[in-house]
Symmetry: C2
């Protein structure tokens, strides 16, 4: 399978290597500072959430050119053997990193990560650092938006099958946990992140039985208080009634109280309200109602606004691939080389020169504005030296606290206001 037992060093664009060889030939040994930032917010997004440092750390620890990598590069007939020897001895962990702590909300064009080291070394890390941070940030932010829409109801990550790849599915689950979601259907992600795996049954399970009721009963007897029954395989109203009947029976006969039902199609507000009434009227009021089926933050908001009697949402595609913002314009730009601040002025893609410090002003229990200034060592700088990732629960707590201090206007899932960020960086000339 792709990636199993692959070294990560070749997870890069070829140009990082072609540039590196020239730096090596010409003795470009000075330290460089590269800055990571995102150019703009996707439509309807009011903030980003920093994420990805744990995977970044793991990458830095694992990236090195193996014999096999070097053998492959030799076949390309572009690289000097002495340069390839040099590549094998690079210590990628020697770069110094300053970063926003994970779980910190941030805004466009703010510096979020700085990589400082020999230009060759720091340049080689560009491609995969962007790959890691870009989608990790997207996921933590997309998950936060879902949480905001759900207003305290549970949202669970169902996205594994729709994710664009296995690692992206784990980034999605990590974003979900960062945003405070209670569980993921993704078993490997649950294992790696020490999160709660969640899941029940597919329509195929119902179909494998000749009678829907038998499928419900055997599943419920096995999983008891963890059982969630899928009620929409044939006729949702009938499925809801059968679930109530089975729940009643198991409670009476064996004191088993099943957890809930899941509705995966149709009018979710109407069906969940019908289910709530039916369960309450039939003395199975403990049954929770979960809904799924192409949900996103807008549909969740609609269901909440329409007072759908829903206890939790399963979200697949819109989280797993971030349907409305599958990528962001994240950049890794040289801002300083040796003792010289640098920048570029390409049309619509200009950069601010030099190392930077990011300040956030807090007043009356709210974040008021940010200031991006020329770098100065400061305990108020939001960019902090990064060496070790933090526990995920701590990151989730930070996000929760910091989002609390961000005014609702910036957190709206539709048409949020623009958080004020002042840039105090002078362009040369």
């Amino acid at each position: 399978m792709y990636l199993l037992n692959q070294s990560p060093a070749l997870l890069t664009d070829l140009y990082e290597l072609t540039m590196a060889q020239v730096y090596w030939q010409k003795d470009f040994n000075d330290h460089a500072c590269f800055e990571v930032f995102i150019r703009k917010l996707p439509d309807d997004w009011g903030f980003f959430v920093m994420s990805g440092l744990a995977e970044l750390k793991s990458y830095l620890q694992n990236v090195r050119f193996t014999e096999d990598d070097i053998h492959y590069l030799r076949t390309l007939d572009m690289f000097d053997p002495a340069f390839l020897d040099y590549l094998q001895n690079i210590d990628f962990e020697s770069v110094e990193i300053r970063a926003l702590p994970e779980g910190t909300p941030f805004f466009p064009n703010e510096p979020i990560l700085e990589v400082k080291g020999p230009i060759l070394t720091a340049q080689l890390l560009e491609t995969y650092i962007l790959n890691i941070l870009g989608f990790s940030i997207i996921q933590a932010t997309a998950a936060s938006r879902l949480q905001i829409a759900a207003q305290g109801r549970a949202v669970v990550d169902f996205g594994m099958r729709r994710a664009q790849g296995p690692v992206s599915s784990i980034r999605a689950a990590r974003g979900a946990v960062t945003a405070g979601m209670p569980a993921t259907s993704n078993v490997l992600a649950a294992k790696l992140l020490n999160a709660k795996p969640s899941g029940t049954m597919a329509h195929s399970f119902i179909q494998a039985y000749t009678k829907e009721e038998d499928a419900f009963e055997s599943f419920a007897r096995t999983y008891k208080s963890k059982a969630v029954l899928l009620v929409d395989t044939y006729d949702t109203v009938n499925g809801i009634k059968l679930a109530a009947k089975v729940a009643r029976k198991l409670d009476t006969e064996d004191n088993i109280q099943i957890r809930g039902i899941r509705i995966d199609s149709g009018d979710l507000v109407k069906m969940s309200n019908f289910a709530r009434r039916h369960f309450d009227e039939n003395n199975v009021e403990w049954i929770k109602i979960f809904v799924s089926g192409n949900l996103d933050e807008y549909k969740i908001d609609d269901i909440v606004q329409q007072r759908g009697q829903v206890d939790g949402f399963g979200v697949g595609t819109s989280l797993a691939v971030s349907r409305y913002a599958p990528s962001v314009d994240i950049a890794y730009k040289l801002v300083r080389y040796g003792d010289r601040d640098v920048y570029k002025k390409s049309e619509n893609k200009a950069t601010h020169p030099g190392r930077k410090t990011l300040h956030r002003t807090f007043r009356d229990n709210r974040y008021e504005h940010d200031d991006v200034i020329k770098y100065q060592p400061s305990s108020d700088d939001l960019l902090r030296p990064f060496s070790e990732p933090e526990p995920l629960h701590k990151i989730a707590e930070r996000l929760n606290t910091m989002l609390y201090h961000l005014a609702p206007a910036y957190k709206k899932i539709r048409n949020p206001e623009t958080f004020p960020v002042n840039f105090h960086i002078k362009l040369p000339e």
Copy 2:
């Protein structure tokens, strides 16, 4: 790093395992047939391209529950130890697969893959098969659309940094090669797929020099006929002139003819036309012109229609994450269990019961229509027994030939017509 040295067995939704345990408890040993299909085409797409079987094969060969996986599942306190023993002994390669050969264009709701085996075994494969096929198909199709728009000009995959994860970047590169693209910037993908890696320089390389001209010259002297110079770091017109000057100098002094330039921002038609004229007038007519910067099939089509003097396009985001269709509604549905055809009738998500055969009618050098009929062994069935993946060049040839036989109306990148597919499957009742 996520996934290195991970077993793929836990790359699944928890519900596959909870269902499996009930099948095991209740002795559901009959063979099941699951069918994979995609419910609908994304806006503006007229066809899909089959892809993903090589990765599917690798998955089937590698998926097994390791001691470590079982240890983790035991901690969840949901599974009988005897069931966990059973899991460790499943032979996933025992399932029988029928599939459209990779590179075959297909249409919504057509069966594209069938998995036949003991229900427990075949069910456990659902999540990751959907993960593999969904994005592989998206990528092969998205890449084909880019190729169609480029009308014979080169398109190169630049998407690694924007991909949602490392494996998705390899799926993207494989889709690119399947569609006939000549190269990818992704070094690992090039290695794994035996494709050509491609790449030149970033803006940071120019910035590391105090003079743009020096950066051009040292890069060009190193890479000679492979050198492509990035001309838009400061002022594109000036960058083009400097590139011409350096090219002229290297040709005169050392008989080195550089390959080309790349323009990554601004008005690409205007700038490429200026560059073409300038190079032709200054006796460096061999310099090729490549453009990049947020390109997609629509922008490429516009550039081609406006007669931009462009030799090749570098495409990142829109290919790597399939910006306009980051996911598809791909399903893995039980269609037969034992001797019983099954289906579901959930609102908007109904399925057709039973195993199926897919016929495509060919007339006057064109595909005329498809017919989905009840399964019958037939040499005309587009679904063929799958055991080993084919070489990628053979897949690319198939796609090229089959797209040639698909009328232009179905291949338009805007508002394509709907290819006729007739379903001859009777619903019970």
